[in-house]
Protein backbone atom coordinates (compact mmCIF):
# COMPACT_ATOMS: atom_id res chain seq x y z
CA UNK A 1 0.00 0.00 0.00
CA UNK A 2 1.32 3.42 -0.86
CA UNK A 3 0.01 6.80 -0.01
CA UNK A 4 1.42 10.26 -0.01
CA UNK A 5 1.07 13.89 -0.74
CA UNK A 6 3.50 13.99 -3.62
CA UNK A 7 1.98 15.42 -6.78
CA UNK A 8 0.61 13.24 -9.53
CA UNK A 9 3.34 14.72 -11.70
CA UNK A 10 5.85 12.52 -9.93
CA UNK A 11 4.50 9.49 -8.07
CA UNK A 12 7.36 7.25 -7.00
CA UNK A 13 7.10 3.51 -6.59
CA UNK A 14 8.93 1.52 -3.94
CA UNK A 15 9.58 -2.19 -4.52
CA UNK A 16 10.52 -4.08 -1.38
CA UNK A 17 12.21 -7.48 -1.37
CA UNK A 18 12.18 -9.57 1.80
CA UNK A 19 14.81 -12.24 2.42
CA UNK A 20 11.96 -14.77 2.66
CA UNK A 21 9.79 -15.02 -0.38
CA UNK A 22 6.69 -15.94 1.64
CA UNK A 23 7.27 -13.01 4.03
CA UNK A 24 6.68 -15.20 7.06
CA UNK A 25 8.89 -14.74 10.13
CA UNK A 26 9.02 -15.96 13.70
CA UNK A 27 9.77 -13.85 16.78
CA UNK A 28 13.53 -13.44 17.12
CA UNK A 29 14.12 -13.85 13.37
CA UNK A 30 16.01 -11.11 11.61
CA UNK A 31 14.13 -9.41 8.79
CA UNK A 32 16.42 -8.44 5.93
CA UNK A 33 14.90 -5.91 3.55
CA UNK A 34 16.14 -4.52 0.26
CA UNK A 35 14.22 -1.88 -1.64
CA UNK A 36 14.35 0.05 -4.85
CA UNK A 37 12.75 3.42 -5.49
CA UNK A 38 11.46 3.86 -9.02
CA UNK A 39 10.17 6.80 -11.00
CA UNK A 40 11.88 9.41 -8.87
CA UNK A 41 14.79 11.68 -9.71
CA UNK A 42 17.33 11.30 -6.86
CA UNK A 43 17.83 15.07 -6.89
CA UNK A 44 14.25 15.54 -5.65
CA UNK A 45 14.54 13.57 -2.40
CA UNK A 46 15.43 15.31 0.88
CA UNK A 47 15.43 12.31 3.18
CA UNK A 48 14.20 8.78 3.73
CA UNK A 49 12.78 7.12 6.82
CA UNK A 50 12.84 3.33 6.87
CA UNK A 51 11.08 1.44 9.61
CA UNK A 52 9.62 -1.83 10.80
CA UNK A 53 6.33 -1.27 12.55
CA UNK A 54 3.18 -3.00 13.69
CA UNK A 55 -0.27 -1.49 13.89
CA UNK A 56 -3.75 -2.53 14.79
CA UNK A 57 -6.63 -2.30 12.38
CA UNK A 58 -10.31 -2.86 12.95
CA UNK A 59 -13.44 -1.19 14.29
CA UNK A 60 -11.97 0.75 17.20
CA UNK A 61 -9.08 2.97 18.19
CA UNK A 62 -5.82 2.17 16.45
CA UNK A 63 -2.47 1.44 18.01
CA UNK A 64 1.00 1.57 16.50
CA UNK A 65 4.45 0.47 17.56
CA UNK A 66 7.64 1.31 15.70
CA UNK A 67 10.12 -1.49 16.29
CA UNK A 68 12.97 -0.30 14.09
CA UNK A 69 13.56 3.16 12.67
CA UNK A 70 16.35 4.89 10.82
CA UNK A 71 16.48 8.16 8.93
CA UNK A 72 18.74 8.85 6.00
CA UNK A 73 19.85 12.43 5.37
CA UNK A 74 19.76 14.07 1.99
CA UNK A 75 23.04 12.74 0.61
CA UNK A 76 22.42 9.17 1.72
CA UNK A 77 18.80 9.34 0.57
CA UNK A 78 19.87 10.38 -2.93
CA UNK A 79 22.33 7.50 -3.09
CA UNK A 80 19.59 5.15 -1.94
CA UNK A 81 17.14 6.35 -4.58
CA UNK A 82 19.84 5.88 -7.20
CA UNK A 83 21.15 2.47 -6.15
CA UNK A 84 18.64 0.97 -3.69
CA UNK A 85 18.45 0.68 0.06
CA UNK A 86 18.61 -2.06 2.62
CA UNK A 87 18.29 -2.61 6.34
CA UNK A 88 17.76 -5.45 8.77
CA UNK A 89 16.43 -5.85 12.29
CA UNK A 90 15.66 -8.70 14.66
CA UNK A 91 11.99 -9.13 15.52
CA UNK A 92 10.71 -8.90 19.10
CA UNK A 93 8.79 -11.68 20.90
CA UNK A 94 5.49 -9.89 20.36
CA UNK A 95 3.03 -8.81 19.09
CA UNK A 96 2.32 -11.55 16.59
CA UNK A 97 0.39 -10.97 13.40
CA UNK A 98 -3.28 -11.66 13.98
CA UNK A 99 -6.34 -11.65 11.75
CA UNK A 100 -9.15 -11.15 14.23
CA UNK A 101 -12.72 -10.13 13.56
CA UNK A 102 -12.78 -6.90 15.54
CA UNK A 103 -9.06 -6.21 15.58
CA UNK A 104 -6.13 -7.26 13.43
CA UNK A 105 -2.42 -6.85 14.07
CA UNK A 106 -0.27 -6.20 11.06
CA UNK A 107 3.47 -5.86 10.65
CA UNK A 108 4.94 -3.83 7.84
CA UNK A 109 8.05 -2.34 6.36
CA UNK A 110 7.48 1.35 5.83
CA UNK A 111 9.59 3.49 3.53
CA UNK A 112 8.85 7.20 3.70
CA UNK A 113 10.33 9.60 1.18
CA UNK A 114 10.58 13.32 1.90
CA UNK A 115 10.50 16.04 -0.73
CA UNK A 116 10.99 19.80 -0.80
CA UNK A 117 8.19 21.77 0.82
CA UNK A 118 7.45 19.16 3.46
CA UNK A 119 5.71 16.79 1.06
CA UNK A 120 6.17 13.09 1.61
CA UNK A 121 5.29 9.69 0.20
CA UNK A 122 4.80 6.53 2.25
CA UNK A 123 5.03 2.98 0.97
CA UNK A 124 4.01 0.06 3.22
CA UNK A 125 4.74 -3.60 2.68
CA UNK A 126 3.23 -6.22 4.97
CA UNK A 127 4.79 -9.33 6.37
CA UNK A 128 3.78 -11.84 9.04
CA UNK A 129 5.24 -12.54 12.45
CA UNK A 130 4.22 -15.87 14.01
CA UNK A 131 1.54 -18.28 12.91
CA UNK A 132 -1.63 -17.48 14.79
CA UNK A 133 -4.55 -18.85 12.77
CA UNK A 134 -7.13 -16.32 11.64
CA UNK A 135 -10.13 -16.05 13.93
CA UNK A 136 -13.27 -17.82 12.78
CA UNK A 137 -16.79 -16.56 13.30
CA UNK A 138 -19.27 -18.84 14.99
CA UNK A 139 -22.45 -19.65 13.09
CA UNK A 140 -24.40 -17.47 15.53
CA UNK A 141 -22.10 -14.49 14.95
CA UNK A 142 -22.17 -14.90 11.20
CA UNK A 143 -25.97 -15.26 10.98
Amino acid sequence: MSHGSETARQQPRVDVHFDRSHRGYEPGDTVVVRYQVHELDPAHVRGIEQSLAWYTEGKGEEDLGVHFFSRLGERQARETVATGGHFSAPLPPSPLSYEGVIVKIRWCVRVRLFFPGGRDFVSEHEFDVGRIPAARMTSRASA
Binding site: E62, Y98, E99, I132, A134
Partner: protein, 199 residues
Protein backbone atom coordinates in the same frame (compact mmCIF):
# COMPACT_ATOMS: atom_id res chain seq x y z
CA UNK B 1 -1.76 -20.05 5.27
CA UNK B 2 -0.38 -16.62 5.99
CA UNK B 3 -2.33 -15.20 8.94
CA UNK B 4 -2.91 -11.78 7.46
CA UNK B 5 -1.62 -11.09 4.01
CA UNK B 6 -3.65 -13.47 1.84
CA UNK B 7 -7.02 -12.37 3.13
CA UNK B 8 -9.05 -9.59 1.53
CA UNK B 9 -8.58 -6.28 3.27
CA UNK B 10 -11.61 -4.86 5.07
CA UNK B 11 -12.11 -1.36 3.62
CA UNK B 12 -14.38 -0.31 6.50
CA UNK B 13 -11.67 -0.30 9.19
CA UNK B 14 -11.12 2.80 11.30
CA UNK B 15 -8.01 3.47 9.29
CA UNK B 16 -10.03 4.21 6.17
CA UNK B 17 -13.24 5.68 7.60
CA UNK B 18 -11.95 7.95 10.38
CA UNK B 19 -12.22 11.73 10.06
CA UNK B 20 -9.22 12.86 8.07
CA UNK B 21 -9.21 9.74 5.89
CA UNK B 22 -12.53 10.48 4.20
CA UNK B 23 -13.03 13.82 2.50
CA UNK B 24 -16.08 15.81 3.68
CA UNK B 25 -19.06 15.71 1.33
CA UNK B 26 -22.48 17.28 1.10
CA UNK B 27 -25.70 15.30 1.56
CA UNK B 28 -25.69 14.35 -2.12
CA UNK B 29 -22.17 12.95 -1.82
CA UNK B 30 -20.29 15.72 -3.62
CA UNK B 31 -16.93 16.76 -2.12
CA UNK B 32 -17.13 20.06 -0.25
CA UNK B 33 -15.17 23.10 -1.41
CA UNK B 34 -12.97 23.68 1.63
CA UNK B 35 -11.85 27.13 0.49
CA UNK B 36 -15.51 28.18 0.35
CA UNK B 37 -16.17 26.68 3.80
CA UNK B 38 -13.23 28.52 5.36
CA UNK B 39 -14.32 31.71 3.60
CA UNK B 40 -17.85 31.34 5.00
CA UNK B 41 -16.37 30.82 8.46
CA UNK B 42 -14.59 34.16 8.13
CA UNK B 43 -17.85 35.79 6.98
CA UNK B 44 -19.52 34.49 10.16
CA UNK B 45 -16.90 36.23 12.27
CA UNK B 46 -14.80 33.16 12.99
CA UNK B 47 -17.03 31.69 15.70
CA UNK B 48 -19.55 29.15 14.50
CA UNK B 49 -20.86 25.62 14.83
CA UNK B 50 -21.14 22.55 12.68
CA UNK B 51 -24.38 20.96 13.80
CA UNK B 52 -26.09 17.73 12.91
CA UNK B 53 -27.09 14.31 14.17
CA UNK B 54 -24.63 11.58 15.18
CA UNK B 55 -22.67 10.17 12.27
CA UNK B 56 -23.49 13.01 9.88
CA UNK B 57 -19.87 13.99 9.16
CA UNK B 58 -19.41 16.85 11.63
CA UNK B 59 -16.00 15.69 12.86
CA UNK B 60 -14.90 14.85 9.32
CA UNK B 61 -15.64 18.43 8.28
CA UNK B 62 -13.99 19.83 11.42
CA UNK B 63 -10.78 17.88 10.71
CA UNK B 64 -10.78 19.09 7.12
CA UNK B 65 -11.17 22.70 8.33
CA UNK B 66 -8.30 22.10 10.77
CA UNK B 67 -6.08 20.93 7.91
CA UNK B 68 -6.99 23.97 5.82
CA UNK B 69 -6.26 26.35 8.71
CA UNK B 70 -3.01 24.57 9.57
CA UNK B 71 -1.76 25.09 6.03
CA UNK B 72 -2.09 28.85 6.50
CA UNK B 73 -0.76 28.87 10.07
CA UNK B 74 -4.13 29.89 11.53
CA UNK B 75 -4.86 26.80 13.61
CA UNK B 76 -4.27 27.41 17.33
CA UNK B 77 -5.35 23.88 18.19
CA UNK B 78 -8.11 21.31 18.20
CA UNK B 79 -9.63 19.51 21.16
CA UNK B 80 -11.93 16.50 21.06
CA UNK B 81 -14.04 16.46 24.21
CA UNK B 82 -13.95 12.94 25.58
CA UNK B 83 -13.33 13.53 29.29
CA UNK B 84 -13.90 16.32 31.80
CA UNK B 85 -10.25 17.37 31.56
CA UNK B 86 -10.63 17.99 27.82
CA UNK B 87 -13.00 20.87 28.60
CA UNK B 88 -10.32 22.45 30.76
CA UNK B 89 -7.83 21.94 27.95
CA UNK B 90 -10.17 23.64 25.48
CA UNK B 91 -10.63 26.68 27.72
CA UNK B 92 -6.87 26.90 28.29
CA UNK B 93 -6.23 26.68 24.55
CA UNK B 94 -8.66 29.51 23.81
CA UNK B 95 -7.25 31.68 26.60
CA UNK B 96 -3.77 31.40 25.04
CA UNK B 97 -4.70 31.59 21.35
CA UNK B 98 -3.27 34.42 19.27
CA UNK B 99 -5.57 36.92 17.62
CA UNK B 100 -6.66 35.80 14.18
CA UNK B 101 -6.17 32.12 14.89
CA UNK B 102 -8.85 29.46 15.39
CA UNK B 103 -9.57 26.93 18.11
CA UNK B 104 -11.61 23.91 17.08
CA UNK B 105 -13.65 21.90 19.58
CA UNK B 106 -15.30 18.60 18.75
CA UNK B 107 -18.41 17.50 20.73
CA UNK B 108 -19.12 20.94 22.18
CA UNK B 109 -22.30 19.59 23.81
CA UNK B 110 -20.02 17.93 26.36
CA UNK B 111 -18.72 21.29 27.59
CA UNK B 112 -20.39 22.33 30.78
CA UNK B 113 -22.39 25.59 30.49
CA UNK B 114 -19.88 27.53 32.56
CA UNK B 115 -16.87 26.24 30.62
CA UNK B 116 -18.66 27.00 27.35
CA UNK B 117 -19.36 30.60 28.42
CA UNK B 118 -15.76 31.06 29.57
CA UNK B 119 -14.42 29.69 26.27
CA UNK B 120 -16.69 31.98 24.21
CA UNK B 121 -15.82 35.00 26.34
CA UNK B 122 -12.08 34.22 26.10
CA UNK B 123 -12.31 33.81 22.32
CA UNK B 124 -13.93 37.27 21.98
CA UNK B 125 -11.36 38.80 24.31
CA UNK B 126 -8.40 37.20 22.53
CA UNK B 127 -9.75 37.96 19.05
CA UNK B 128 -9.56 34.32 18.03
CA UNK B 129 -12.24 32.20 16.38
CA UNK B 130 -13.97 29.16 17.83
CA UNK B 131 -15.42 26.46 15.60
CA UNK B 132 -17.31 23.68 17.35
CA UNK B 133 -19.29 20.58 16.46
CA UNK B 134 -22.44 19.58 18.27
CA UNK B 135 -25.38 17.30 17.76
CA UNK B 136 -27.50 19.76 19.74
CA UNK B 137 -28.32 23.39 18.83
CA UNK B 138 -25.56 25.65 20.16
CA UNK B 139 -26.99 29.11 19.62
CA UNK B 140 -23.90 29.95 17.55
CA UNK B 141 -23.99 30.84 13.85
CA UNK B 142 -24.20 27.59 11.88
CA UNK B 143 -21.35 27.02 9.44
CA UNK B 144 -22.74 23.72 8.19
CA UNK B 145 -25.64 21.47 9.02
CA UNK B 146 -24.79 17.77 8.79
CA UNK B 147 -27.24 15.78 6.70
CA UNK B 148 -26.93 12.30 5.31
CA UNK B 149 -28.53 10.24 2.59
CA UNK B 150 -28.23 6.82 1.04
CA UNK B 151 -26.56 8.47 -1.94
CA UNK B 152 -23.90 9.95 0.34
CA UNK B 153 -23.21 6.57 1.95
CA UNK B 154 -22.92 4.99 -1.50
CA UNK B 155 -20.42 7.64 -2.58
CA UNK B 156 -18.38 7.14 0.60
CA UNK B 157 -18.25 3.37 0.06
CA UNK B 158 -17.16 3.94 -3.54
CA UNK B 159 -14.33 6.17 -2.29
CA UNK B 160 -12.99 3.45 0.05
CA UNK B 161 -10.58 0.71 -1.00
CA UNK B 162 -12.16 -2.03 -3.10
CA UNK B 163 -14.37 -4.47 -1.16
CA UNK B 164 -13.91 -7.14 -3.79
CA UNK B 165 -17.62 -7.55 -4.44
CA UNK B 166 -18.34 -8.67 -0.88
CA UNK B 167 -20.69 -5.74 -0.29
CA UNK B 168 -23.78 -5.32 -2.45
CA UNK B 169 -25.94 -2.26 -3.03
CA UNK B 170 -28.61 -3.90 -0.84
CA UNK B 171 -26.11 -4.11 2.04
CA UNK B 172 -25.42 -0.39 1.81
CA UNK B 173 -29.14 0.41 1.74
CA UNK B 174 -29.82 -1.92 4.68
CA UNK B 175 -26.98 -0.42 6.74
CA UNK B 176 -28.27 3.08 6.04
CA UNK B 177 -31.83 2.19 7.06
CA UNK B 178 -30.86 0.14 10.12
CA UNK B 179 -28.83 3.01 11.56
CA UNK B 180 -31.23 5.82 10.65
CA UNK B 181 -28.68 7.53 8.43
CA UNK B 182 -25.87 7.47 11.01
CA UNK B 183 -22.98 7.04 8.59
CA UNK B 184 -20.41 6.02 11.19
CA UNK B 185 -22.62 3.19 12.43
CA UNK B 186 -23.58 2.25 8.88
CA UNK B 187 -19.93 1.93 7.85
CA UNK B 188 -19.19 -0.19 10.92
CA UNK B 189 -22.20 -2.35 10.02
CA UNK B 190 -20.62 -2.85 6.59
CA UNK B 191 -17.36 -3.77 8.35
CA UNK B 192 -19.20 -6.63 10.06
CA UNK B 193 -20.87 -7.77 6.85
CA UNK B 194 -17.51 -7.80 5.10
CA UNK B 195 -15.91 -9.86 7.90
CA UNK B 196 -18.71 -12.43 7.80
CA UNK B 197 -18.26 -12.96 4.07
CA UNK B 198 -14.46 -12.81 3.94
CA UNK B 199 -13.99 -15.79 6.30
Amino acid sequence: MSPTRQRPRNPFTTRFIRPGSLAPRDAEGNPLDMAAIVGRLADLGGTAAIEGPHGSGKTTLLVAVAESLAMTGRLAGMVRLRAWSDGVRAVRLVSRAAAGTMVLVDSWERMGPVAARVALWSARRRGCGLLVTSHRPTGLPVLAQGRTSLELLERLVAALPDHGGLIAADDIAAAHTTHDGNLREALLDLYDRFERRAR
